[in-house]
Symmetry: C2
Subunit: 330 residues, 2 copies
DNA sequence: CTATATATGCTCAATTTGAGTATAATTGGA
DNA sequence: TCCAATTATACTCAAATTGAGCATATATAG
């Protein structure tokens, strides 16, 4: 009924160490792509048609094998199947489909294969970290270059559309910056040719990649892997608002500040401490263990743990962030 | 690098007619599956590796061909690839992957192929419509049978887990019913064998399907298509809270009550009229056209239209419903 | 003219937010 | 020893939002 495809699985494995969200990467060794020592890739594995009963099991399986990592939370992210995503497919080779999964792990117990390493997500998507205000790179490079790009469009209406997209994505002209619009921002940068992987599509191999890459934003990734990461970060930022997934990233017990730092790391913004506490408290997501954190530098904080049974009570138990409007049911 | 798969595309095409959410279905004629005149399927099409540059274009393409339908909003839903989803794959045949898309259309201009028909989503998922309170089928059949099923588990802890899952999914024991948990509910019914397609997995062809089907809940669908529908409805219910997707389902101008009815149809609950208006109004999502609806039966309502430019202003412009908690940014 | 039905304006208490101030319990030096 | 720095936590208070109504306006059917 339809032709055959190559199907693989990618995993965006996220952890938070201290105050930075990290993603597990491997050395890029994809044949046929622009690869150098700087270029990294997301872990990739086959979907075994025989042994993998479900795709999720498949991901868990080969990630365990390759990295020794065992994760609790996994969700399917997106299936990437555009013809141009891989030069091989573009050149008439077999088309490669990739089903990407998002996984959350508790810390970095990296065992096994040393080709894997944790990278800070914000080294790969530097314009996404607004914890100390609007990132410099946004002011100094992104806005000017995207504005220039918007002006390049052929018709008046296309210029207006581009300008508006930029404004919405980066919170210009009175629009508010929305942490979840990670993919929109990435796609703008891609279309405008500001990320190194954008070149590959136009004319692979023509320009010396190392030379240009220096001018581009952020560290480069193989194929459409940075798009996958952007998809993952956007999804995760949305999810923490209404599902208690943060706890998958934390140790079994934690202080409220640690919890806040993890949320901030993912959300990319700073939160008001007292109000954050009030909300966490009211939401009943956590309960104090009597013990205190052995701490240096201030009053010791109480250690909390996640209340698993909260899932029964509240329908949308997230850790909160500016969110959606509501309407009362009748 | 990995083996070959068959890859196809499914579309969950949703419209709202009057007060009922509808989904486009086709006559089931899948070879090898339990098919009779009652069993329907979601539209299915190939992913053409040559012509379809992106999968989304692919979907738009063959849906247009098959039904004459042109839709504005499309989003990728999920990729279904479990080995057991298709009897063919289970029996060692080629494994079939399906990438499902959710599409919203404005009304039902069904042209072309007459094997297609619109069905009420709540004929397929009858336990999801809470607009007149908790559905009878939940009280009379689902709760009793799921409770019995929970008791059947082998160990004490498994029984407790099942019981808790049921309580969370259907809003028992003080838990609140959550409209978005469509998939969780479907999966419970599936595991408990209360939907007809569940039998197929255990022992295909053994039991006379027509006989048993009469006792099962809702109209049957081919393969895992009802799971796809459940995924779609859950996603859509989530989405209307924070993105203005409802307008894809409405005529260009509409009264506020029509808007409310569409939201209610999708959400599966009734809303408080005055408060709904207040929120829509405050959200600035719509603007009045001066004209009035020609109406019979009461004071005529003003016609409104969607304000496209609202996308620039608000970061999360949905029509609202009980939603997430918030935390103030610093 | 009345009953009925819908639209739309307005009120009001309860709750939730946003943004602080105040106070408590530590550590590391002056 | 006592002060500065640092972090935790309690509490306040005005503004905004929500939940639940009541009241009034404008139609139609008889």
């Amino acid at each position: 009924m339809e032709t055959s495809f190559s199907v693989g699985l990618n995993a965006v494995i996220v952890a938070v160490t201290g105050e930075s969200p990290r993603v597990l990467t491997v050395q890029a060794a994809q044949p046929g792509s622009v690869a150098d020592s700087e270029t990294v890739a997301l872990p990739f594995g086959p979907l075994d048609p025989i042994s993998g009963r479900t795709m999720e099991r498949g991901v868990r399986g080969w990630v365990r094998e390759q990295t020794g990592l065992e994760f609790g939370y996994v969700e399917q992210l997106y299936t990437f199947g555009d013809r141009d995503r891989d030069p091989v497919g573009r050149d008439g080779g077999p088309r490669v489909l990739s089903v990407a999964y998002l996984a959350l792990v508790r810390e970095e117990v990296l065992a096994g294969n040393c080709r894997a390493q944790w990278l800070d997500c914000y080294d790969l998507l530097q314009w996404e970290d607004w914890r100390s205000g609007r990132p410099k790179v946004v002011d100094e490079r992104i806005i000017p270059e995207l504005t220039a790009w918007a002006r390049l469009a052929s018709t008046r209406s296309k210029r207006a559309t581009r300008k508006e997209r930029v404004a919405i994505a980066f919170g210009l002209d009175g629009a508010e910056w929305d942490g979840e619009k990670v993919l929109e921002r990435y796609e703008l940068l891609y279309e405008a040719g500001l990320v190194c992987e954008a070149m590959r599509e136009v004319d692979p191999g023509t320009q010396p990649p190392r030379e240009r890459a220096r001018h581009e934003l952020g560290r480069c990734m193989v194929l459409d892997h940075r798009r996958m990461l952007a998809t993952a970060l956007g999804r995760l930022r949305g999810k923490i608002k209404y599902r208690p997934v943060v706890f998958e990233l934390l140790a079994p017990t934690f202080t409220l500040l640690q919890l806040q730092r993890v949320v901030e790391a993912l959300a990319g913004v700073r939160l008001h401490k007292q109000n954050f506490r009030r909300l966490v408290d009211k939401g009943g997501l956590v309960e104090g263990t009597g013990s205190l954190d052995e701490y240096t530098g201030g009053r010791p904080a109480e250690l909390f743990r996640f209340r698993r049974d909260v899932l029964r009570e509240r329908s949308a138990p997230g850790v909160g962030l500016p969110g959606g409007t509501q309407v009362s049911r009748v």
